[in-house]
């Protein structure tokens, strides 16, 4: 029994893409408008250096559009009528999952890079014609862009999990759940440091343990490895949630 069949996956992916096409198209037009407005309102002819508008705008667009898009990608899984149709289509859970993961993750990032670069170029030409100045061209390999993109990748995995797990309002619920877990982990970390190094602290004020945590030197490859493992684990949990998803309520 095959659980991943390439021609079938292709059909599933195309169905998902066609289902989301309207959203992608409208978002692209909105992106073009936002980029143009940002260029025209942020170019002062009297300033010397060319502003790097992309450094703030691209991450804002990627996170601002990508995360809500991801949070709604499994809306048919929870829709009272669509869920029967979606879950009884003859494809494997893995194909369902990978299709939507690609659509909202790697392929969306790729599309965002290409679309932003194109709109950035067009807005630059228009802005030069109107104001005589242009912003610094979009640099996808700028460390700030790379860092924000990797943040999106991590958040995307969480949002994908939330989109499957929560039946409604998955965006705010995932953000709240993520914040609670994040604060919880930080609290555990601080308390652990405080307890382990008990004799080095005079008070129970956590600011001292914050300092102590900062002193811990963790090698970057280890951090990257742990983050990758965490990322894969979140994706695995999301897949399991999809696999074990049950339809409650009436037919």
């Amino acid at each position: 029994m095959s659980t991943f069949h390439w021609p079938r996956f292709r059909r599933v992916f195309l169905n998902d893409l066609q289902q989301q096409w309207r959203k992608i198209w409208i978002s692209s037009l909105a992106l073009a408008g936002v980029v143009l407005v940002a260029y025209l309102t942020n170019l002062d002819p009297h300033l010397g250096a060319r502003p790097e508008i992309y450094a703030a705008l691209f991450p804002a667009i990627l996170l601002g559009a990508g995360l809500p898009f991801t949070s709604t990608i499994f809306s048919d899984l929870h829709h009272p009528l669509q869920r029967f149709h979606y879950l009884t289509l003859p494809c494997s859970n893995l194909e369902r999952f990978v299709s939507r993961y690609l659509l909202t993750g790697p392929l969306l990032i790729l599309y965002a890079f290409i679309a932003y670069a194109a709109f950035d170029f067009i807005a630059s030409v228009i802005a030069t014609g109107l104001t005589g100045r242009s912003a610094a061209p979009f640099a996808p390999l700028d460390p700030r862009i790379v860092e924000m993109t990797s943040s999106y990748v991590q958040l995307h995995a969480l949002m994908l999990l939330g989109a499957i797990f929560f039946r409604s309002y998955s965006l705010p619920k995932t953000l709240i759940a993520g914040a609670v877990i994040g604060f919880g982990l930080v609290a555990v970390q601080l308390i652990t440091v405080r307890l382990v190094f008990w004799e080095y602290f005079a008070t129970i004020i956590p600011s001292e343990s914050v300092q102590a945590v900062r002193l811990l030197i963790v090698p970057m490859p280890l951090v990257a490895g742990l983050m990758t493992l965490l990322y894969l684990w979140v994706l695995y949990v999301a897949y399991q949630c999809l696999r074990e998803h049950e339809v409650q309520g009436e037919l």
Binding site: S2, H79, R83, F84, L87, L89, S92, V247, Q248, L251
Partner: protein
């Protein structure tokens, strides 16, 4: 085709079990009607068979697969037509391309023929159809998938009078020995003469599961002006009493499903006696004891 043994299911741990030790077998080549009052567990059973929910205990196998695994090979062999339906906002041709392509044995010619038989406009998006037209459309699609098991929940709800006869004709014309059709409905008259076996379910138990011809050999329904002493069950209608009694004529007559359902759900101990007598006579009548 369907093999359920000692099935247990409940919606949540704190809730009372809906099914306990449920047994059900269904062979290929059957059009089976499932009857039951609201809350009897019909829809839940259909969802279990389609892999939309998972059993708490026991075995549930459909086409030699566990439905909960949702294997693509299994899903390609079943088609579920729910009571409340969803259709994608596309034309029938696009629908067939998008979703028919996922069914390995999807038959485009059958699909187009059924759309024509149902007089469905093919140049419009399916979402613009009326409720009844959507049901006909999904029925056409379901039949064209050539799935071995068609599961339908209230398929005739919303169908007009010609639509109901078209529905029956379509099912009969495209029925094959390797296929089975399971129809859950409250519209018992729509199943009259269509089904060849019946399941009566109540309170999460199967009260009756039997081929119709075996029942017809054992029981008969007649309209009479008073309830005779030998009546197993009777209910009043405008034309008199519909009386169910043991068939002593030796001639099989078509059973009125409504009366049969009333008898099965009446809680009468005589149902078990009739079933037991049928079983002794070598007929395949089954039913859970209360």
């Amino acid at each position: 085709m369907i093999d359920i043994k000692d099935l247990g299911f409940s919606y949540g741990r704190s809730k009372a079990p809906l099914f306990q030790n449920l047994d059900l077998q269904l062979s290929p080549g059957t059009i089976c009607g499932m009857l039951g009052v609201n809350g009897a567990g019909k829809s839940t059973l259909l969802k279990l068979l389609a892999g939309l929910i998972f059993p708490g205990q026991g075995r549930c196998e459909v086409l030699c697969c566990s439905p909960g695994d949702r294997l693509p090979e299994f899903l390609a062999d079943i088609f579920l037509l729910p009571e409340e339906i969803f259709v994608a906002p596309v034309t029938p041709a696009t629908y067939a391309r998008r979703y028919g392509g996922l069914y390995p044995r999807f038959d485009l010619l059958t699909y187009e023929k059924l759309l024509a038989d149902f007089a469905l406009p093919t140049d419009r998006k399916v979402t613009t159809y009326s409720y009844g037209q959507k049901k006909k459309f999904l029925l056409a699609f379901g039949i064209a998938t050539n799935a071995r098991l068609l599961i339908m929940d209230e398929p005739t709800n919303g169908l007009d009078i010609p639509g109901k006869s078209q529905f029956r004709r379509a099912l009969i014309n495209h029925f094959a020995p390797e296929r089975s059709i399971l129809i859950s409905t409250h519209q018992v008259h729509d199943l009259q003469g269509l089904i060849d076996s019946v399941i009566v379910i109540a309170g999460g138990r199967i009260l009756l599961h039997s081929p119709m011809d075996a029942l017809a050999a054992r029981l008969q329904v007649q309209v009479e002006q008073r309830v005779p002493d030998d009546a197993l069950y009777a209910h009043e209608t405008l034309e008199g009493f519909r009386v169910l009694r043991v068939n002593t004529s030796g001639v099989d007559a078509e059973l009125d499903l409504e009366t049969l359902f009333g008898f099965a759900t009446s809680g009468s101990a005589r149902l078990q006696q009739v079933l037991a007598a049928g079983a002794q006579a070598g007929e395949t009548l089954t039913g859970d004891r209360p």
